[in-house]
């Protein structure tokens, strides 16, 4: 239900809408009421004013007027008084009335409104005040007994003044009445205005309330109708229906939640339908039993088919019906499996099952436990017929055993073969080693014998006094040593059949230089050679050639000099060896035919180069003597 709660509150909610409408009406009503209250207040104050001012003033003016009349009448009594007592009584009455008039004029002064009113009151009070001296004159005349004159003043001057006073009073009265009438008119206008304005306000409030109510209820009703329609569709099973709402209030959330619910429900139904389809079409047989009593509540078509039952036939039967009797009876087997499933939640293994027709076969079963909403705790068992697999396994096992035996036999044979081969190899190696040792021994003996020959030649030379013979024997000794040097180098080499040209020739030439040089002469050697490995067949003639050429140079090239340079440069290219020998001596005399000389040395050089190395040789006498010998490198031998 997490998805449902995830629907967000967007837009104006119903509560907010209602509150805003209510507040709007309340505000309008408040404004209207406020207006009415202020206007009523004004009316009330107007009424109070009317009562307090124009009406009071009118009443006071009237009362004052009455008392003025009374004063005037009493003045008549004064004039007509027959005794002093009557006179004094009348005077006293006049004075009393005068006080009353003053008190009323004071009321008028206090209550009269407007400057005009105040002026009128003042004028009236002044007139009343001015009457007093007239009255006093009358009283004085009366006291003196001058009654007629007093009467005449009262009737004449006194009456005129009273008349004036009365007129002023009348004016004052009219003024107050006018003021009262104006105020009344004003209050009437106010009342009419208040009634009109209030009526407009009420009409406005009602209109607003109606419009708001209409739109609000329409919006709510539409949404509710959509929701009801949606719920009806859902109830019909149309879970793909979607409730569409335009509003964004709580009702739209309800609609969205309902849509979501329908969607989830559809998903669940789809999944259930898929699972049901899977169960129906599974290659494995599946059945469900109640955990409490082992009664089958469902079996899929494959299971029914596998065991030879009709659709639904197994429902209600005890599970032991599908187990074949082995060493244990089917009930016991069933009991053991169910106990294990109850304890650990699952069981898997192979069971011997039985079909409806009594045929037994092996199945692989996976049993697990779960809670079903209708059947309570149930066990689900997935069965696979493993008869074919078992037979195949047996075949594989037999084949494996057979293969292992073959491999074992072959291994024994191979081990024997290897042992034999090792023995042969050891024999060959031993034989090779023996041959190598023998060869080394031979080279050693050859070398030793050559030493003996060299010694013999030396000893022989000792017995001659002739330098020519001594030299000839020394030359022969050097030739033997040149040949011995080949064996010496072979002895050092790895394969006993070829030698490295550079160390061989260098050592040989240095040895010859030692044998010829006296202390006073210094002949330098410049020796350069590529890394060339040469066979014993070519090494001996090359050694002899170099021996003869070096000896020849040492004997003849430097007759008057005690120093000079002998250069030997050996290169090889494309299977050819180039031996370039030169000295910076006096050069070969023209008289000597170097190819057919009297001396043995040069004869040997030409013959060895051409007939033993099968190469070419040429001589140049130019700034010393140059010999160039070219021959094929190791012919018939690939080193």
């Amino acid at each position: 239900m997490k998805e449902t709660t995830a629907i967000k509150n967007e837009g104006l909610g119903i509560f907010a809408k209602l509150m805003s409408g209510f507040l709007l009406v309340l505000l309008l009503t408040g404004i209207g009421d406020y207006y009415s209250f202020t206007q009523m207040n004004r009316l009330s104050s107007l009424t109070t004013k009317i009562y307090n001012h124009p009406l009071q003033v009118t009443r006071a003016v009237l009362s004052a007027d009455t008392n003025i009349v009374k004063i005037h009448r009493s003045m008549k009594d004064v004039a007509l008084a027959r005794s002093d007592k009557e006179l004094e009584t009348a005077i006293s009455r006049v004075n009393d009335y005068e006080k009353i008039v003053y008190s009323y004029l004071e009321i008028v002064r206090k209550r009269i409104l407007g400057n005009e009113g105040a002026a009128l009151q003042k004028e009236t009070a002044q007139l009343f005040h001015d009457w007093k001296p007239i009255r006093d004159e009358v009283i004085a005349l009366t006291r003196r007994g001058n009654i007629e004159e007093a009467f005449a003043i009262t009737k004449g001057k006194g009456a005129d003044h009273v008349e004036k006073l009365n007129l002023k009073m009348e004016e004052l009265k009219n003024y107050a009445a006018e003021k009262a009438s104006g105020m009344l008119h004003d209050s009437q206008l106010t009342r009419v205005s208040v009634i009109r304005t209030t009526t407009v306000f009420i009409a406005l409030i009602v209109t607003v309330a109606i419009i708001f109510g209409f739109f609000f209820s329409r919006s709510v009703t539409n949404t509710i109708n959509s929701i009801i329609n949606g719920i009806q569709e859902f109830a019909k099973g149309n879970l793909e229906f979607e409730i569409k709402t335009e509003s964004k209030d709580e009702l739209s959330w309800i609609a969205k939640a309902l849509n979501k619910m329908a969607f989830q429900r559809k998903k669940i139904l789809d999944e259930l339908s898929l699972q049901s389809e899977i169960l129906k079409n599974m290659a494995e047989g599946v059945y469900l039993i109640k955990a409490e009593d082992g009664i089958i509540v469902h079996a899929n078509p494959k299971f029914e088919n596998m065991f030879g039952y009709n659709p639904g036939e197994l429902n209600g039967k005890h599970v032991s019906i599908v187990n074949a009797p082995t060493s244990k009876d089917p009930g016991a087997v069933t009991g053991e499996i169910m106990k294990e499933v109850s304890n650990s939640g699952a069981w898997s293994g192979e069971v011997r099952n039985i079909k409806k027709d009594g045929t037994t076969f092996w199945c692989n079963a996976n049993v697990s436990l779960f809670d079903h909403p209708t059947f309570g705790q149930v066990m689900i068992s997935v069965h696979t017929d493993v008869t074919k697999r078992k037979s195949l396994e047996k075949k594989i096992k037999d084949y494996q055993i057979n293969l292992e035996e073959t491999v074992k036999a072959r291994t024994v044979e191979l081990e024997k073969e290897i042992t034999e081969r090792k023995l042969v190899e050891e024999k060959i190696n031993a034989s090779l080693k023996e041959k190598e040792t023998l060869l080394l021994e031979i080279h050693h003996r050859v070398k030793n014998n050559m030493q003996v020959i060299s010694s013999l030649l030396k000893l022989q030379s000792n017995s001659f006094n002739d330098d020519k013979i001594k030299k000839a024997l020394l030359e022969s000794q050097n030739r033997v040593r040149a040949m011995a040097s080949v064996h010496k180098n072979l002895y050092k080499s790895n394969n006993l059949s070829s030698i490295n040209l550079l160390p061989f020739l260098k050592e040989l030439v240095e040895s010859i230089l030692v044998s010829y040089q006296t202390n006073s002469s210094k002949i330098a050697l410049e020796f350069k050679a590529d890394d060339i490995v040469i066979s014993i067949d070519q090494a001996t003639p090359i050694g002899l050639i170099v021996n003869e050429l070096v000896s020849n140079s040492l004997k003849y090239a430097f007759p008057d000099r005690h120093n000079g340079t002998i250069r030997i440069n050996i290169t090889h290219n494309n299977g050819e060896v180039h031996l370039h020998f030169s000295d910076d001596g006096i050069g070969m005399p023209q008289s000597i035919d170097w190819r057919d000389p009297d001396t043995l040395g040069l004869q040997l050089v030409a013959n060895l180069a051409e007939n033993q190395l099968h190469g070419s040789i040429k001589m140049e006498s130019n700034n010393g003597t140059h010999f160039i010998v070219i021959f094929e490198e190791n012919p018939g031998l690939k080193v």
């Binding site: 030793n448 030493q451 010694s455 000893l459 011995a484 050092k492 040895s511 030692v514």
Partner: protein
């Protein structure tokens, strides 16, 4: 300088003769030629031998190296080794720390002279 007395230990008698001839020319006094280590030890017991020309391969049960070990510690004589087995040079050099001469066969008179001169 007094004349040095030399013993030649060499089983190849012709080679020994040449050496003797050369040594004479160089002014050495050759006391004798023996062909085995045993004989060399016997001869060294006689006084007055300063230098031994020692071949490596000898007759008898001892070779030149073994003979040298005995005679050098006992008599302190100078040694010049002579051998056709050049590869023995390293073995000899690692065996003995005293100064000695070394000559590989075949050699000539000048080479022998040079080897002897080095020991002087």
């Amino acid at each position: 300088m007094s004349q040095k007395s030399v013993l030649i230990v060499e089983d190849e008698i012709i080679t020994a003769m040449e050496i003797k001839s050369c040594l004479k020319n160089f002014g050495y006094k050759v006391i004798g030629i023996v062909d085995s280590g045993e004989n060399a030890i016997k001869r060294l017991a006689e006084n007055g031998i300063n230098l031994v020309l020692m071949d490596i391969n000898l007759k008898g049960s001892m070779d030149g190296i073994e003979t040298t070990e005995i005679i050098h510690s006992k008599y302190g004589v100078q040694i010049v080794f002579l051998t056709a087995f050049e590869e023995k040079e390293n073995a000899i050099r690692s065996r003995f720390s005293f100064p000695f001469g070394f000559l590989s066969k075949p050699f000539n008179e000048k080479e022998l002279k040079a080897a002897l001169d080095k020991l002087r």
